[in-house]
């Protein structure tokens, strides 16, 4: 089939859905709205499947029209690139997107703004598809900011609540900080390489292959963009707050797709990252630090969504470490599996919240497995997948990242290993305190607790299956000769980095994993199935206090950035504007006014004085003439 038609089918349906729902949604029935909304991503998904069979292993460029001619050589068009990497991302985005749209129909059905919600989701999907398919940096940036905007809209979806609005604004602004880095990187690239087209850029990067300061700056600035979008240190604090949005939003945007955009970007620009080892070092350590800090914070959180949010941040840290090591395909692999199991976890958490009528605190849950059989099952699958229980999805991807880290940098490997233990701990804690043990909360809610409707369960099942089988696409060479993801992405990401670990290491790692998981499972089971709530209390001293306060990161930012700015701005407003600028500029006027006042004294109003001064003037003149 014609590539343009396929591309149009991939790109526009969600936008059309957005326009229809956005304009007419309030007057249409909810079912119709839901149908139109789901049709968009589904069409994209189908088109992607067709594209997969038509254009596999090629890079098909489709140029729709000229967006703008930036400089003489830099053409910026609505140009899209269908290659294996973008197709894989499209599968994730449109596939998970479709499932979450379907789920949302059930989850948001009672909400008054249902049509609005579905429209925003569609818009988000459109932006994300632009981001994924874009063939040049400005267009990618358009999608990049577009998803940020939709994230803003969806976090603040219930806009009557000012806290949610603040969270939405925080997310957008922190993303914008990253975006500034991104756009500066774009400028540097345009200045240095005179093109913004990915294909040409990759070529030029590979040709030049230099570790010049400019390249280092480009990569660092790009990575600043990544820290904003993919919630890395120091800009990750918006992501936990972003849980203010409805749960499907958290699943789609803040777990499966948008936050992985940064990973995708680095994978796209792999060539330039490959030639700047300095930046790679930075990336590795930032990823590790993010993974570690987020994992430790997650240990002490009681909000079911917050735990998952910090877990997402931590997992993104894993991916970033992989990127820093140069293992771009591994990172994308983890993006994929993470999309499956994290979406699954969020959606099932949403199912729990839905069933309990909005309750999010795990201290008030427990024993829900009897009430929500299916949810419990899929949540368990998700948990096992994320902690890396063989042979579920997370096992393979995480194992690969650990192996990559081991081959590059042993301390980082140890750090990541520790994070894995933390991951296991907080995930099992979450699981046990939600579904096992006894119910600890309000009995009124218990009586009303119910399993979610089929329309919400169906996506869960699909995601559960994907979480189970997702890992088989990337089995390590110990098991299978064929690493499907690796060979699929090689045409797009032809990085020359090789990572070799001995088979012994693999076996040791697996054994260790299983042992540690069993141990953690036992310990958490003991601790969190108890009836008492004491295990959930915020601790007032020691490390516990630091963790439950999230290292006071928000407070620190408030203190060192926002507060000085606010004080400065207030000072500008109250003092500087008036005294520093206005008065200085008008000072000649004041001087004149003063002088006029002073001279006014001479104007006594008495005629005698005037005549006297006149006579004095006469005499002076007369004497002057006399002299001559």
């Amino acid at each position: 089939m014609n590539s343009t038609i396929i591309l149009n089918l991939m790109l526009w349906p969600s936008l059309i859905g957005f326009i229809i729902n956005g304009i007419f949604g309030s007057r249409m029935s909810k079912n119709l709205v839901g149908l139109i909304a789901c049709a968009g991503p589904l069409t994209s998904f189908v088109a992607t499947v067709i594209a997969f069979f038509s254009f596999r292993d090629t890079s098909t460029i489709v140029d729709l029209y000229t967006w703008f001619q930036f400089t003489k050589n830099i053409y910026v068009g609505f140009t899209f690139n269908i290659d294996n990497l973008s197709m894989l991302m499209m599968f994730i985005v449109s596939g998970v997107g479709t499932l979450i749209h379907i789920y949302s129909i059930g989850y948001m059905h009672e909400d008054k703004g249902f049509w609005r919600f579905m429209a925003y989701l569609n818009l988000f999907l459109f932006s994300m598809i632009i981001l994924v398919l874009a063939n040049n940096l400005p267009l990618l940036f358009a999608g990049w900011e577009g998803v940020g905007l939709c994230s803003f809209l969806l976090i603040g979806f219930w806009f009557s609540n000012d806290e949610y609005n603040a969270a939405a604004k925080k997310a957008f602004v922190m993303n914008r900080i990253g975006d500034l880095g991104f756009i500066l990187a774009v400028f540097l690239i345009a200045k240095t390489y005179d093109t913004l087209d990915f294909k040409l850029l990759t070529q030029k990067f590979l040709e030049s292959g230099l570790n010049t300061p400019v390249n280092i700056w480009i990569t660092i600035l790009l990575f600043v963009g990544v820290t904003g979008k993919s919630a890395q240190l120091p800009l990750f604090t918006w992501l936990p707050d972003a849980m203010a949005g409805p749960t499907p939003v958290s699943a789609l945007i803040h777990a499966a797709t948008m936050v992985t955009a940064g990973v995708y970007l680095v994978a796209r620009m792999f060539a330039i990252f490959d030639m700047t080892p300095f930046t790679q070092q930075i990336i590795v350590y930032i990823g590790l630090a993010t993974a570690f800090i987020a994992a430790t914070i997650a240990l002490k959180q009681n909000d079911i969504k917050k735990v998952l949010a910090y877990s997402t941040v931590s997992q993104l840290g894993y991916m970033v470490v992989a990127l820093g090591c140069g293992a771009y395909i591994t990172a994308i692999f983890h993006v994929m599996t993470h999309a499956f199991f994290k979406a699954l976890l969020f959606l099932s958490a949403g199912s729990v919240i839905h069933g309990l009528g909005g309750e999010q605190n795990i201290a008030n849950m427990g024993g829900l497995k009897s009430k929500m059989k299916w949810t419990h099952l899929v949540f368990l699958i998700g948990t096992l997948a994320i902690v890396g229980f063989p042979p579920l999805a997370g096992f393979f991807s995480k194992d690969e990242i650990l192996a990559v880290a081991f081959s590059k940098n042993i301390p980082v490997f140890i750090g990541l290993g520790l994070c894995s233990v933390f991951t296991a701990w907080y995930m099992f804690r979450l699981y046990f305190s939600t579904f096992q043990g006894e119910y600890r909360g309000d009995h009124h809610k218990w009586d009303h607790a119910h399993e979610s409707p089929m329309i919400m369960l169906f996506p869960l099942f699909v995601l559960a299956i994907l979480s189970i089988i997702g890992g088989f696409f990337g089995m390590p060479e110990v098991i299978s000769e064929h690493h499907a993801i690796d060979s699929f992405l090689k045409p797009s990401i032809f990085s020359k980095n090789v990572f070799h670990v001995s088979h012994t290491f693999d076996y040791m790692l697996w054994t260790l994993t299983v042992l540690v998981l069993a141990l953690v499972m036992y310990l958490t089971y003991k601790r969190y199935t108890a009836k008492s709530k004491s295990a959930y209390d915020a601790q007032s001293e020691g490390i516990g206090k630091v963790l439950s306060n999230k290292y006071w990161l928000d407070e620190i930012y408030e203190l060192i950035i926002i507060k000085p700015l606010r004080i400065l701005s207030d000072w500008f407003n109250r003092v500087f504007e008036r005294v520093g600028i206005d008065d200085v500029i008008q000072s000649p006027g004041f001087v004149l006014q003063r002088a006029a006042k002073g001279l006014g004294i001479l104007q006594s109003g008495s005629i005698s004085y005037y005549i006297l001064s006149m006579i004095i003037g006469f005499i002076i003149f007369f004497l002057m003439f006399i002299k001559k």
């Binding site: 006297l612 006579i615 005499i619």
Partner: protein, 176 residues
Amino acid sequence: MNIDYIFYLLTALTIICATMVVVSKHPIRSVLFLVATFFCISAHYILLNAQFLALVNIVVYAGAIMVLFLFVIMFLNLNKEVERNKSILYWLGAIVSAGCIFLMLVSSVGKVALTNGNIEKENYTLGLVENIGMSLYTDYLFPMEICSVLFLVAMIGVVLLSRKENKFTTNTVSNV
């Protein structure tokens, strides 16, 4: 009697009357002395063979203007009001400064060295009514007409100023 005696006598009279204008306490007396001064000046004009000016001076100044002054003084009932004298220092200062001006003028009179008349084209009849009239209505016709406009304006101004319900004047005086 020689004509220069007449001149000196007249001059002395003029100065005395003028001084009396300044020093007399009563306004009416001032007015009357001023009228006397004007008569003296008119006499000077006659000495200078400027008969027309002498007549006009008497009619306009001593007649019309001074009557206007008198009228105003009486209208405002000022004849009882006795002005409080300014201090002697004030007088002294005024006399000194006026004296300076006087000296300045006199010394400049000495410097300028005027000749005693234009002998070549002597024409001593130009002060007569006929000759003045001729030059007014030929050479100076335009200023003459402008003068009439000036009088018209002055008349309108006076009427405007002395209207009963004149808010404008009230405001300007109290608000400036």
